[in-house]
Symmetry: C4
Subunit: 218 residues, 4 copies
């Protein structure tokens, strides 16, 4: 029995190592999508400056993966062990994390002013938002699964924090991402700015968010 | 002697870290092969939609590497130590894992409808299946080698689980992959769908598979 | 309380694993920017030789990320725990680390003699220097934050070493990077050589630097 | 004092994690250099088959990085601690590891028969061999440095094994790599085959090599 526990604790260690790897690679691959302005000569500065929307898209993509990493790491820290189902659901989360650089690239290409792609911006921004939505959804599913299967250690501080994160931050963010995607279909830049705002909100520590909501229960 | 054991346990730790790295990178590099539809303008949505076979190929590649990672992680967890031979065989497994993005890229390019490459789909699908076969084969070889060299700790739960995985899942999957590759040579999409089905089957926990086979021995 | 400490220590472990991943990937992605001389035939050697400025740029980029990794690793080793704020500031540092391959690519393209891009070298070199500056700045901010929030364990050898690093090396390097960037705007190769010199200076162990400054206090 | 030791042991842990990351990424990035035959249609199989020299080059590159990883991991396992000098020399080793995909890409392009680049093969093969030589040299330097600075724990089994590796395998391999590079300048395929043979020799466990040399001292 003790053996079994040790194995499960170690399985958790490898799940974290593998997930950290995928998160770190996905977040760093984003830079490959930034296009170098060719033959700009003395106009290089202004060419780089015109790429503002692309940098914003890069920043949002980076921030979004970073947030999911922070939440994922907070979740698995609160876990006592992982099981076969958790491993497989986690793989599904990583599928969306590893896929995000693609909609990010599509969006960057259609927002780029170096090689302008008029039209298609709405689709690109909504496509990106959809993957953000699915990433958050999978995180929520992982949290709910861990709760149902009793993978948390007990009623510790960490578990309660993890629950609060789900209730006060992840669940609402799903609605916000869905909304932002739909708005992106109408006004792409509005969608983009909303992704940014949701990201900033998710980056705020839970404590702050609860404070805003005016709740005092510990 | 105690020293030697400590070293071998630590050697295992680095083998896991290095392998996790290669798995994580290979699985995340797959996204680089997805092609952004250029100058699609307002037709971007339909262009993205037409790329369905490419997304399926991406999903299968991701799932296949994910499965090998899960099996590899289950195998090394059951090990008590690794030796020089295991290290080298493991490198051979990683060779195929690190190589998989190439046949995946070939297959995606020949399945893509944005830049259609009529013909060659059969070869591409069979080539991909051959590497899936070799990956599974190396995993089986690793498991058999560990058994023969007594790298498992003893007759623990983990070892028996590892053995069962080999007997009930990996060994049959080899035959299935070989079959799917041959069928892919005749009907590429049949091969593709079979890779998907094998993947889903491999993702099911061992317990479930044994249940299907109607065996009750613990 | 003991639980809480354990969690914070483990949070530190994952922060290190994720950061090591981003550092390792960013430093290794740099190689993708090196352009293979096409159709050079027998002139391949001379074509490769002409690329000297590009190799220098590669070397400087590699060294700069390597330095930040060494300093980051020295900093987090001295920490007893990390908190939510540290996690988020660390993400901001990683943003610049992950972004560096982009200005490195811009600079390499505009310094390359295979596909010469006359003009724009000044902008490219200064852009690169600006990111180096921001990377160092974020490292300094992280160190100051950790000090203010009492994340160090106490008045140990490590903490004092970490403080000394900040005072004798990181803070001055900020001024040097700012200066080098400005000079790069006037004479690109002067900027490039200065980045190299600053890198070598930062690679020298703290002890040596303090010796030069003629201070003997331990 | 105990504190200091703990820190140094942990510094070793991060050095290993970061190095494993760079090794894993460099070895996996090699796959990006494999070119997909475009518009091959029904001739895809023969087009892929003609790429044999490129696959050989890929295999040799993969094997070479794999070997250096195995030797590096054996070396650092034998270490009790690392110091500032070791950290910096290790960064220099990683510079060559991270750079290897570039000469590998040059070599693959000039060996490729899809887009033939007549001439330049000699330079490409010798360039690749030079980096292999420098990688092995840095590994030797790291080993010698660790010995001189007393970073090994004492006269344990691991240390003596590490010493033997240096004496019986790494040192001779330097001469072989230099020879193979020179021969590659005259006959590129001879150089390529020699890199392969040296790789196989380095992959053999030390014990075997010592047996061949007819020495029995333990």
């Amino acid at each position: 029995m003790a053996d079994r526990l040790t194995t499960e604790v170690r399985a958790k260690g490898r799940l974290e190592a593998f997930s950290d790897g995928v998160f770190a690679i996905a977040i760093t691959l984003l830079v490959l999508d930034l296009v170098v302005p060719h033959h700009a000569g003395g106009r290089l500065l202004s060419e780089l400056f015109r790429e503002r929307p692309v940098y914003l898209a890069y920043f949002i993509s980076f921030m979004s993966i970073g947030i999911v990493w922070i939440e994922h790491s907070a979740l698995t820290e609160a876990l006592e062990r992982v099981d076969a189902g958790f491993l497989r659901l986690n793989l599904l989360l990583l599928l969306f994390v590893g896929f995000l650089p693609y909609p990010a690239r599509v969006m960057q290409e259609y927002l780029s002013l170096i090689e302008p792609q008029h039209g298609g911006q709405r689709t690109a921004v909504a496509f990106f938002g959809m993957i953000l939505f699915l990433m958050s959804l999978m995180l929520l599913v992982l949290g709910k699964y861990a709760e149902r299967e009793g993978l948390f250690g007990g009623d510790t501080v960490e578990e309660r924090t993890a629950e609060r994160r789900v209730t006060y931050k992840l669940a609402p963010s799903l609605i916000f991402y869905a909304l932002a995607s739909v708005l992106g279909l109408i006004q792409p830049y509005v969608g983009l700015v909303l992704y940014f705002v949701i990201g900033v909100y998710l980056l705020l520590p839970v404590r702050t968010v609860r404070g805003w909501l005016g709740r005092g229960k510990s």
